[in-house]
């Protein structure tokens, strides 16, 4: 079929341009800019405070925090956010004194700055708060407290700001451009298509021309270029994990002080970059794991002393990337997970059978089961399972995996493996009853042709397969896809893995392995649980990508 088409009306973008010219929307735009920029400055402040906690005399950092507050003040004045302006101004004043060495940075001052940051954050999230009486009086109390503090040290009457550095004195790259995300997404999308189209060309050229043909050589050169453009365009979507790590770090600190425990944190590899879409969805799982580590992992001081451990507990958040994957590890030196207690609970909850001899890995896997930890008090046992199923689901939705490394008494690590970007994954194209589907290659354990003697029948139905020492259940793909005639016994079996579990997916044949540009099927198919998304194959056809997590759940 051709794409013959009558273009009637396109372009919805024109309407948008008209809209923004009215006065009120102009204001809205300024306000929006204010919120975005303020947030960036807050991130920078939080990062720098982290440095000041360790090195309170770092003049450069104090300067930088000072400038951040100064800029926020200016921005707030521009959009008439008086309260933000006031907080920023007072905090800036304190920082100015620190700069001039009239005040020495101590814990009180750091707490004060963080509190100011929090208030500004609250206001940015809900500007209406500035009209709230309680909120206003909280802020007054907060700001008054520093006036007292200052009185003790220095005559409190601030002079107008004299020297404010005109330009930020960052030494690294200096020019940035702000680009709407949708433009970048559209670019990545188009380049993805370009790569696919190009590989179609190349396939054709291979069939039609011999390899020495000039056209082939040229095509190959274009191919290298397109791949480079693709990598570059993908990198536009990448952001560093820095802001996420800062957030997790702060939450960790808050949790420690709420629980009255004693723990230190270290961050490694926060400059590691990952797809923007992944970052946003990582925050909740990471917060969860961080809280878990402190709540259940780190012992209180008395217990640590008794065990001969250092009094101060330690939680490390670490990120690094290799071969298209990003690893994020949260580890603590706490008590670790008591596997026997977990097993006991799993048996009590009917997740496990007392007659089976489980390996430690099997036992840790119970923690990820929905409903494993519900009403039991968390300190009942090691109790790490609080909502870990949610964490796991989130991570697999991002195309990643999570594992636990546990050492009883010594501590515990949660290791997350995530794809660097969600836009392109390695996929294996398979055919099921005449239709092609895609399996994310990361989830495939093995592929094999079953022999007659490998089948295990339950109630006369061949629904298990024996592979080496494993007995692997089959995924009822015919039911899932509503296929009428599908003979599983004549199939190729693709063994999928999720967590530590294996399941075999019967398919008619394996077509190919290829890079897959992941696209959404759209809201109309939100209920189609077996589909993770879809992709356009080399021949222009669409194939649905299987949601492996869902295929595993379906049968349970």
């Amino acid at each position: 079929m051709s794409f013959d088409s009558i273009d009637l009306i396109i372009d919805g973008d024109n309407n948008q341009i008209q809209k923004t010219t009215t006065q009120s929307s102009l204001n809205e735009e300024y306000l929006n800019d204010f919120l975005i920029e303020t947030n960036e400055h807050i991130e920078s402040i939080e990062m720098n405070i982290h440095i000041l906690e360790k090195d309170s005399n770092n003049a450069e950092t104090i300067d930088s925090v000072f400038r951040d507050f100064h800029t926020i003040k200016g921005l707030a004045g521009f959009v008439s956010q008086g309260l933000v302006q006031k907080i920023a101004h007072q905090t800036e004043t304190v920082l100015d004194k620190c700069r001039k060495k009239e005040l020495v940075i101590n814990n009180n001052i750091i707490q004060f700055i963080l509190k100011s940051t929090d208030y500004i954050k609250n206001l940015c999230e809900n500007l209406e708060l500035s009209k709230d009486k309680d909120f206003n009086s909280n802020i007054s109390t907060h700001l008054n407290q520093i006036e007292n503090l200052q009185d003790n040290i220095i005559n409190f009457h601030t002079e107008p700001q004299k020297k404010i550095p005109k330009k930020q004195t960052h030494k690294e790259e200096s020019v940035y451009v702000r680009i709407p995300m949708r433009k970048i997404d559209a670019l990545v999308d188009m380049v993805g298509e370009l790569v696919i189209n190009h590989s179609q060309f190349e396939q054709l050229a291979q069939v039609m021309l011999d390899t020495n043909d000039k056209l082939s050589t040229n095509l190959h050169r274009v191919s290298t270029l397109t791949k480079d453009i693709q990598n570059l365009s993908m990198s536009l979507r990448m952001v560093s994990l820095n802001s996420v790590f800062q957030r997790i770090y702060r939450i960790g600190k808050d949790t420690v002080s709420t629980l009255g425990k004693n723990a230190e944190f270290s961050l490694y590899g926060e400059e590691t970059e990952i797809d923007r879409g992944v970052v946003e969805k990582l925050i909740d799982p990471l917060i969860h794991l961080m809280k878990n580590s402190i709540y259940h992992g780190i012992e209180d001081e008395a217990e640590r002393i008794k065990k001969g451990k250092p009094i101060v507990g330690h939680v490390a958040i670490e990120a690094y990337s290799t071969k298209g994957n990003v690893y994020i590890v949260i580890s603590d030196d706490g008590r670790g997970i008591d596997t026997q207690a977990v097993l006991k609970k799993a048996i009590k909850k009917d997740f496990a059978s007392p007659s089976i001899d489980y390996s430690n890995e099997d036992i840790l896997d119970f923690l990820f089961l929905p409903g494993f930890s519900t009403l039991d008090k968390a300190d009942d046992i090691s109790g790490r399972g609080v909502g870990l199923d949610v964490v796991k689901t989130q991570i697999s939705k991002l195309g990643g995996k999570i594992e636990i490394k546990n050492s009883i008494g010594q501590g515990c690590s949660f290791i997350m493996k995530l794809p660097i970007n969600m836009a392109i994954i390695k996929g294996t194209v398979v055919e099921v009853a005449g239709t092609q589907y895609i399996i994310p290659t990361l989830s495939i354990n093995t592929i094999f042709n079953p022999q007659e003697e490998q089948w295990v029948s339950v109630k006369g139905v061949k629904n298990m397969i024996k592979l080496r020492e494993n007995i692997i259940p089959l995924i009822n793909i015919d039911e899932i896809l509503g296929l009428k005639k599908f003979d599983k016994s004549k199939c190729v079996l693709v063994v999928l893995e999720s967590g530590q579990k294996l399941k075999a997916l019967p398919v008619t044949r394996i077509v190919e392995n290829r890079d897959i540009v992941v696209k959404s099927l759209g809201v109309d198919f939100d209920n189609i649980a077996y589909a993770f998304g879809a992709s356009i194959l080399g021949n222009g056809r669409i194939a649905i990508i299987f949601d492996i997590e869902n295929l595993f759940q379906k049968d349970e």
Binding site: F3, S5, I9, G12, L481, G482, D524, F525, R541
Partner: protein
Amino acid sequence: MDIKGNKFLVFELSDEYYAVSVQATREIIRIMEITDVPKAPPFIKGVINLRGKIIPVIDLRIKFGLAEKQYDEKTCIIILEINEEEKSRPMGVIVDTVSEVLNIQDDEIAPPPEFNNQDQMDFLYGIGKIKDRIIWLLNLDKIVSCDELVIINKLKEDL
């Protein structure tokens, strides 16, 4: 869907005339390969690859409870811009054939009849009467959620 200006794209379904505002129409393409999405509602025929974009396609005959018909060389997919909560997205609707673009004046359009559940009537903008022809003027923004089938049959009885 913004129904300003009175240009409508008229199409046929089972010898009846229907129309959508030209403003909501992006383009018209011939029927092409549709990828089935198993377990989707029957009226959603699947998805098409329109120059690299994955777009859902609805069969209006099934949606309106008319007899299904084999697609032929006259079958068209009208790509519409559907507005949902400020966002718009493309959607294809399969029709027997596209007939013409018509200027329909306000006085030729009868408002949709009162119906007990007004929300469910959102899909019908009005009924155009030109000469002896009756044209159902559709607003397909809520095509997926509305239960047109029931309503249309009821309306036809009343006519």
